[in-house]
Amino acid sequence: METRARLLLLSLVASMLPGCALLHGKKADAPVQQAATVADPAQEEPTDKPPRVIEPEVARRQIKVAKIDAKNVELGSFYGSMSIEDFGSNATWGFTAAYHVTEDFFFQGGYGRTTAGKTSYETLGGNVQLLTPSERRFTYYNLSLGYNLFPGEVYIGRKLAMNSALYAIGGIGSTKFAGDDKFTVNFGAGYRLLPTDWLAIHIDVQDHVFQSDLLGSDKLVNNLSAGIGLTVFF
C-alpha cells in the first residue's frame, strides 16, 4: 500500500517537472541558449565549414537635407511725382516691402510722402494760406494685393534678356494730410523688370482715393502717383 502511494506521488512529481520548467519560461531558457551561442564558434572550428571572414556591416548613409532659401521678399525704395487734387504736383518718395505668395500674387506694403503745393485760390488770392506748412505734408501707407497680369521677357540687343511682368495692384491704407487721417483706397498698375534674379526695377502708377471735405464740399479726391523704384529680392 505504502509503495503504491510512493509510486503515485513520484509519478505525479515527475509529470509536474516539465510544467515547472515551462512556468519559468524564457528566463530559464536564455542562459542555456547564450551558452550554446558562445560555445558555437569553438565547436564549429574543427568542422569543415569555412570560417566567416567578412562581417557585413550595413550602415545606411545619412543624407542631411540642406535648408533651401526662399527668396520671396522684395524690399525697395521709389521716387516719383504725385499729383494731389487741388494742390498741384510734387516729388514723392518712399519704401515698399512685398512678399510673393505665388507666381501670380504678391502682397505689398508701401509708405510714401510728398508735400502739397498751393491751390489756385491761394495762388490768386495773394496772402491766403489754407494750410500750415506741417499740414501740407502728405504721408500715406497702403497694404495691397498685386497680380502679375503679363509675365514676360524683354530683349535688349542680341545678348541681353530680362524677365519682366506687368502687374495690377490694389489695396487699402491711410493718408495723413491737412491734420487728418483718411481711409484711402489705392489701385493701379506697374511694370517690373529684373536685370538679375535678385534685383528689380519698377515703374508704377497708382491712384490714391479718399473722401475729403477740405475745400468745403465733401468729395472723393483722386491723387495720382507715378514713380520709378529699385527693389531687391531676399
Binding site: V65, I68, A91, W93, V101, N163, D197
Partner: protein, 266 residues
Amino acid sequence: MARSTTTTSLIRTPPRISALPALVLLLFATLTGGSLHAAEAGSRLQQLFVAEPYLELYEGPGRGYAVTQVVPRGESIDVLYRRTEWFLVRTRRGIEGWAKEAEMRKTVLADGSTFNFDLGNLAGFTSHDWELGVGTGYYGGATLISSHLAYSFNEQLSIELTGSQFLGNVSNGYAAELGLAHVYRPDWRVSPLLTLGTGAIWITPKSTTVAAPDRNDQTAYVGVGLRGYVTRRFFLRGEYRHHLVFTSRDSNEEISEWKLELAFFF
C-alpha cells in the same frame, strides 16, 4: 583739376528730398548685392538627382517662360533657392534654370529617398508655421485697417501680433496687440478659432471736435472667428473681438471689433 572743382561747385546741389532715396537705393544695391553672393558661395547647396525621364528648366519662375534646358534622368542638380512655386537650380554643367515645384517633388536625394518640402495646399495650410493677413472692418464704429502676423507653436496654437489703425468721425488711432489664437480643428477647410490677448491703444481726437488730449491705454481682448482655406497659400479669416480698454477714468471702455482679412501662410 582746378577747373573741374569750379565746375562742380557751379552745379546746383540737388534738393534734399531726392538725395535720401537715391542714397537708400545705392546702399540697398551695394549691401544686399554683396551679401547675396557671399551667402550663395558660403552655404552648402542641396544636391538632388533627376528620377523621372527628364527635368525641364525654364527661363523664369513662371509657367509662361520657355523651357531652355532639360536635365536627363540620373543627373544631379544643385538647388540655389526657391521663389514661390519655383526652384532655381544649377546643373552639373553649370547651367542655371527654374524648375517647377511639381517636378521637383519627383527628384530624389543621394540615398534614393524623395525630396520633400512644404507645399501650398490644404495639408500645408493645416500645419503651417507663419501667417500674415491684411484686412478691413469696423472698430467701435470707425473704419478699421488691420494686419496680423502669427507664428504657430503647433497646428492648433499660435501667437499673433496685430497692428491696426482705425479712422472714425470723432477720433482716429492705432492699436497694437499680442495674443494667442487657438484653432479648433486645423485639418478642416473651415474651422472656428478663439483668440485672447492684450495690447495698447493710442487715440487721437479729431481736430474739429472739442480739444481733448491724446490718450493711450492698455487693452485686453477676447475674440471668436472663422478661418477658411481658399486656394494655394491663401485663406480668409473673419473675427469678432471684444476689447476692454483700461482707461484712467472711473469706468473702463468696451469696444467691439469686426474684421475680415485675406491672409497667406508660409
